[in-house]
């Protein structure tokens, strides 16, 4: 199947410099795909899809018939990220996460950054994600954000921008791992030749990161993954990570607090839990401290946490640093704590709480993307250029009523990548969610989830809104050795 008719249509394309000319890093891949017949490529796509179905790698769609399951649409043309592009992403995310962690620790202690006038006190105290219950907490080794999955996008100029920091319970890493397994089966020959960096040891590194959080006197800590349950849209991931780490996947009903220790109910009695990788938001984790109506939490768990009897990852209270209004201050946060300039830039952001910005937003609703600061997953969003007058009027009213709740950004021209659509290649907009672990230092997984907006022209990549995914190939070096033979290693 050939890329001869593939058009880039003026967008930055991840695989092509211009129609017919693949980027250097992608050339071996493009040549290989060109050499496959239409039927062959489609067979590979179908085989990947039926693997996903058989493995039960599905997610639940809200708002439709209860418990509707779908496979996460998957495109077998990978996105290739050359080493030269990856290096600043990796360094930039490490810088950003280090600064945000210092920021969170500061907010829950001395609030120097507020006292020094870098960020308005109002901005923090008006955020629902700021948890007064966390003031004075000292998480193990001063680390609050152990697992991060930031969203990056690439604009027409080819530069990457951070779109969102996901510092609470970012999901998607299981797809990074499973997509890779599928593509290894899909293109076994080309894979080796391109020096694609492996991602398979993520579960191992995650377990190490989590084990480090256990109290010092515990030599073999019991680590568990806490899930809201099988009806959660990310349940597959919770189960997958627990399985890959070889730890228990628990629901709140499996846990009980006894004498300020968290215990799980087993067939042979109660067993102490030392570290909880919780995939439940702060709001729901402890009905005695946060939302009293939570049916997902464990009453008393925060008390155990305060006493240092159990570790939680991520720490409660991290949501304040991925508040969409606080996001606008991240470049200043990096400067303040690290005295460095950001390596990856923010998307310019207008804060509706500030009058000057608000006036600009209200006058330019048709050009901007407006986001509610406390919603994610593509909900509560207005995409100006694609909106109707009625939608704009509704958002204008909402912004004026609760300005703190909204921010706005210019519409970026997201980069595109070729996808198989109805038997031909078409460009679709993509973003990139790399995952980072903060153990001894920040460690960014060389890869990530490339999310694809499958509807033609759409900019919304969220899986809940019709998005799909691709495997992301980060190359170890940018001169994929064309002369390197595809060696048949003799199996001893």
């Amino acid at each position: 199947m050939s890329f001869n008719d593939y058009q880039t249509e003026g967008f930055y394309d991840e695989l092509f410099e211009s129609p017919g000319t693949p980027r250097g890093c992608a050339a071996p891949l493009v040549n290989r795909i060109n050499s496959l017949s239409y039927d062959d490529l489609l067979r590979r796509q179908q085989s990947a899809e039926s693997s996903l179905m058989n493995m039960g790698i599905t997610f639940t769609v809200y708002g439709q018939e209860a418990g509707t399951e779908r496979i996460f649409p998957f495109d077998i043309i990978p996105r290739v990220v050359p080493a030269a592009d990856w290096q600043p992403i990796s360094a930039g995310l490490a810088q950003r996460i280090t600064a945000l962690n210092l920021f969170i620790d500061d907010l829950y202690h001395d609030q120097k950054i507020i006292n020094d006038g870098v960020i308005p006190a109002d901005m923090i105290h008006s955020a629902v994600t700021f948890r007064p219950e966390c003031v004075g907490l000292n998480p193990p080794r001063g680390i609050w954000i152990h697992i991060t999955g930031s969203d990056l996008v690439r604009d027409t100029d080819g530069a990457f921008y951070v779109l969102e920091d996901n510092l609470r319970c970012p999901s998607g890493v299981s797809y990074v791992l499973e997509n890779r397994e599928l593509l290894k089966r899909t293109y076994p020959d080309i894979f080796q030749r391109m020096h694609v960096r492996p991602v398979y040891d993520y579960p191992h590194r995650l377990l190490e990161t989590l084990s480090r959080l256990a109290p010092d006197h515990v030599s073999k800590p019991t680590v568990v993954v806490l899930t809201p349950g099988p009806y959660n849209s990310a349940y597959f991931e919770h189960a997958y990570l627990a399985q890959q780490m070889g730890v228990e996947l628990v629901e709140n009903r499996d846990l009980v607090v006894i004498d300020d220790y968290v215990m799980m109910r087993t067939t042979s009695g109660f067993q102490r839990v030392d570290v909880i990788y919780r995939r439940i938001d702060d709001d729901f984790i402890d009905p005695l401290v946060f939302r009293p109506d939570s049916m997902l939490g464990v009453p008393g768990i925060m008390q155990c946490y305060r006493k240092g009897n159990v570790a939680l990852a991520n720490a409660p209270g991290t949501g304040i640093a991925d508040d969409k209004a606080v996001y606008a201050y991240v470049p200043r946060i990096i400067k303040y704590y690290l005295d460095e300039d950001p390596i990856i830039h923010n998307v310019p952001t207008f804060i509706c709480a500030e009058k000057k910005d608000r006036d600009h937003v209200l006058a330019n609703l048709d050009k901007l993307v407006v986001k509610a600061v406390d919603l994610s997953g593509g909900y509560g969003m207005l995409i100006g250029p694609h909106s109707t007058q009625q939608e704009r009027d509704e958002f204008a009213a909402a912004i004026q009523a609760e300005p703190r709740k909204y921010i706005a950004q210019p519409t970026l021209s997201l980069s595109r990548a070729p996808c198989i659509v109805d038997g031909t290649f078409e460009g679709r907009h993509v973003d990139l969610r790399p995952f980072a672990l903060y153990g001894e230092k920040v460690d960014v997984v060389p890869g990530g989830l490339t999310r694809v907006a499958l509807r033609k022209g759409s900019l919304v990549v969220n899986s809940s809104q019709g998005g799909g995914s691709k495997d992301t190939w980060v190359l170890a070096d940018d001169n994929p050795d064309a002369t390197l033979p595809v060696t048949e290693v003799a199996h001893a």
Binding site: N54, M55, G56, A242, V256, M264, R265, T266
Partner: protein, 321 residues
């Protein structure tokens, strides 16, 4: 092991075993009907009685025709014991423990479920192909084989065995009970070719025909009952199931045979030793139906004891022993 997880594994395996047994009943009955004279060839109600769902069936279906019964037992989602409902329940349980069972075992449950769901969409009750029931049986065997060969034979596996074997014992008891009832009153059949056909069908529905032949050669009602209830080596006989269920239970708790530490061990141990020492002649003399009926209630009591011993969620620790 988490109590919730043990509970899910136990039920997942019960449901898969149940689906397999329902497929056996239907498959054998379809074949049996082909051999019977046309005026006798409507023995479908006993199947509904076998699964214990007569009341539910009669409340929604007017007549026990082949089509109705096949639909009710195979694809009726309102019947909790239909093949499709069993697979849905098995898969829901598997979903909640997929990090505990092996990926291969999970994939097999998922494939099994998708296969049954696809068949439910593609077939009509008049034309459920014979091969479908064979596929269900094979998918169940494949699942058991995959579990045996990809999972540690530790606690989780023993809970799986416990669920599967108790379910199988229950189904063997039920099918024997119903068929015996159905077969005995037909005095006209005794000694006729149909007599042998019906008893053979009973053995076949438990995949016991060939093994029985090797052991006893002639089809004789007392020996058939003995084989299905008391045989020590046939893997679907009630005695075999309970013996191996007891071994798994003791692997879970670590209690040696001959003593007990909890209600589940006590009840299952007692039921198993009752069976171990019962001559078939005594059973028949006291009434096979009464015996099987009692056995089924005992099995329910064992199930309740397993629940209260291992699965019931206690909010506070047990007092120290």
């Amino acid at each position: 092991m988490l109590s919730r997880v043990a509970d899910s594994i136990y039920w997942m395996n019960r449901y898969i075993e149940r689906a397999e047994n329902v497929a056996r009943f239907i498959h054998v009955n379809i074949n049996l009907m082909l051999d019977l004279p046309i005026d006798q060839a409507n023995q479908w109600l006993p199947l509904v009685i076998t699964t214990g769902d007569r009341a539910a069936f009669e409340s929604r279906y007017s007549e026990a025709t082949q089509e109705n019964v096949i639909h009710f037992l195979t694809f009726d989602e309102l019947n909790p014991n239909s093949i499709v409902s069993c697979l849905t329940a098995a898969r829901e349980n598997a979903r909640t423990v997929r990090e505990v069972i092996s990926s291969e075992a999970w994939e097999q449950v998922n494939r099994f479920y998708l296969m049954v769901k696809a068949a439910a969409r593609q077939t009509t009750p008049e034309h459920v192909p014979d091969v479908f029931y064979t596929s269900v049986k094979m998918a169940s065997h494949l699942y058991v084989g995959i579990s045996d060969n990809t999972m540690n034979h530790g606690e989780g596996w023993h809970f799986a065995q416990l669920g599967r074997l108790l379910e199988r014992a229950d189904k063997t008891a039920r099918i024997l009970d119903v068929k015996y009832f159905m077969l005995l009153p037909s005095v006209n059949y005794v000694g006729s070719p149909y007599d042998a056909i019906l008893w053979s069908a009973l053995l076949k529905s438990a995949s016991a025909f060939e093994m029985y032949r090797k052991r006893h050669h002639h089809i004789d009602p007392t020996r058939v009952a003995e084989f299905l209830i008391l045989d020590r080596h046939f893997p679907r006989s009630i005695n075999y199931c309970l013996g191996h269920a007891e071994q798994s239970l003791r692997q879970i708790t670590g209690t040696p045979i001959g003593s007990f530490n909890n209600l589940a061990e006590r009840r299952l141990g007692r039921l198993r030793s009752d069976l171990e020492y019962a001559p078939i002649e005594d059973i028949i003399a006291k009434g096979l139906h009464e015996f099987l009926d009692g056995l089924e209630s005992q099995l329910n009591i064992v199930g309740q004891a397993i629940y209260s011993t291992f699965f019931a969620m206690r909010s506070t620790p047990l007092p120290a022993i």
